[in-house]
Amino acid sequence: MIRATSVLALAAAAAVPWVQARVDGALGAFRAQDEVLYLWKGSQVKRMVPGFEHLAADLYWLRTVQYFGGERVFAKDKRFDVLYPLIEITTTLDPRMEIAYRYGAVFLAEQYPIGAGRPDLGIAVLERAVQNNPASWRLHQELGFFHFVYRRDAKRAAEVLVEASRIPGAAFWLKNLAAEILGKGGERDIARRMWREMLEQSEGALRENARIHLMALDAADAVDLLNGRVALFRERMGRLPRDLGELTAAALARGPLVDPAGIPFEYDSQTGKVAVSRTSYLRRDDLMGETR
């Protein structure tokens, strides 16, 4: 009896990897875990962990990062439904966790599928951030940037930047920037200046995000330039160029006509419009058709 049981147990043990391989084959090697939140409010979670709020905030922050990364990198149909509640819970448990506000706002505001495509929620996160951390000029500065870059609300952006400039230790250029915004300077130039500041002040993913935004602005400038050259070509030749190669042949453009990511620009020979390629991660619909 004991011998038979042992043989059966050994056979079953040997069968486990075989069955697991079949399960992997049926469901795919990577199976994204369905994200479930049992508690949707930071205040509810806070009541569950008296005295351990910061530890819980850390765990929720780790979950936020893993959730966002998992959806962005692995998921086929990217969904960010749980992102805002996770950030809300994290920042309610630890209202001083600046990194959660800053990264969380970027995760939410970036256009889909790079981010959740919800700049309104990104701004809501930063509004809470400045409310909870009134002495942090950096959070105020980022809120101002977000109002300008994602909402095109120059008035509110300038107001927030002026508020930021009044905080002790704030950067001296915040007031000038606010004045420039209100002076209706070129939107793209102001956005470039903001992203440059972000690039200089940030590290890691935020720095990389700022670098990509600067490249996208350069790509938009290059598109404007090429559209001007197409118009010049039409003036000279009386017709639209058939492709961008004709611009080079006519000495109206030089070098490979690619965006800063190395992807060729798109050209519509019917309308004569040049655009950043749909396949390029530098394409920003909000920058299309806007001038410097």
Binding site: R47, P50, G51, F52, E53, H54, L55, A57, D58, W61, L62, V65, Q66, D94, R96, M97, I99, Y103, E203, G204, A205
Partner: protein, 251 residues
């Protein structure tokens, strides 16, 4: 009393309390190595948060279960009788046991703090000495838990003492909720709210973790006041516990 305390220390160490330190050290090291990659630039904060929270959590578990076992198990096993037959007063026995477990917890918390600082140094984090203020506050809270556990173990059975201690400690952690009870239940009389707020052990007093993690200065007078609160509350608990223990009939 010193002899009882020393004996209690040896006894509690034999209860494999120190094994949790090894577990703690491994957990901390793993956290330090792994979390830096999982979180975004929050590794140092997470190490501090996990280190202090684990110290408090493990400490509470040790304080509750060993604190209860100190008296009630000895009563249940009847191993207390030979001790009482010796020229040793019940006060000396009771307070000696408290002091012994207090010393065990001191060693325990000290080793855990050393593990936390070692992890911070290995991961090139800031081993801020101000963290010791939070460690001290945690130690005070553990002494209070031991006093609660010993009080209940002197008046009831092991199982019931465990349940009562856990409930009272949990209630004490919600003291801020008790204080703001009127906001959700306006009909509750003020006196009842005040009574509950002042009668329950206020474990929120000892929570300095958040402050030290963010490098906020904790004034020395705050430490002084929470130490005084701890001394006063423990005196009350041990006084009641001792009175019950003195009157207890052992058959």
């Amino acid at each position: 009393m010193v002899a009882v305390a020393a004996n209690t220390f040896r006894e509690t160490v034999r209860e494999r309390v120190l094994y949790n330190l090894v577990f703690f050290a491994i957990l901390m090291t793993l956290c330090g190595l792994l979390l830096g990659q999982l979180s975004i630039r929050q590794d140092e904060k997470i190490i501090k948060d996990i280190g202090l929270a684990a110290m408090e959590l493990f400490g509470h578990v040790i304080a509750i279960f060993i604190g209860i076992a100190l008296v009630s198990k000895e009563i249940e096993r009847k191993s207390l009788y030979p001790l009482l037959a010796k020229p040793l007063s019940r006060e000396e026995l009771f307070l000696g046991k408290f002091a012994g477990l207090g010393f065990t917890l001191l060693v325990n918390v000290g080793a855990m703090a050393a593990g936390l600082f070692a992890t911070l140094l290995v991961t090139r984090g800031e081993a801020d000495p101000a963290l010791l203020k939070a460690v001290f506050a945690i130690y005070l809270s553990l002494l209070l838990v031991v006093a609660i556990a010993m009080l209940f173990s002197a008046v009831t059975s092991t199982a019931l003492a465990a349940v009562c201690t856990v409930c009272l400690v949990l209630a004490g952690r919600f003291s801020d909720v008790v204080r703001n009870m009127k906001q959700v239940a306006p009909g509750v009389p003020d006196r009842l709210v005040d009574f509950l707020y002042f009668a329950l052990p206020n474990f929120r007093n000892f929570d300095l973790k958040d402050k030290v993690t963010y490098g906020e200065f904790v004034p020395w007078h705050v430490l002084g006041w929470i130490t005084l609160y701890n001394v006063v509350y423990i005196t009350v608990l041990l006084g009641i516990g001792l009175a019950c223990f003195r009157r207890k009939e052992f058959q």
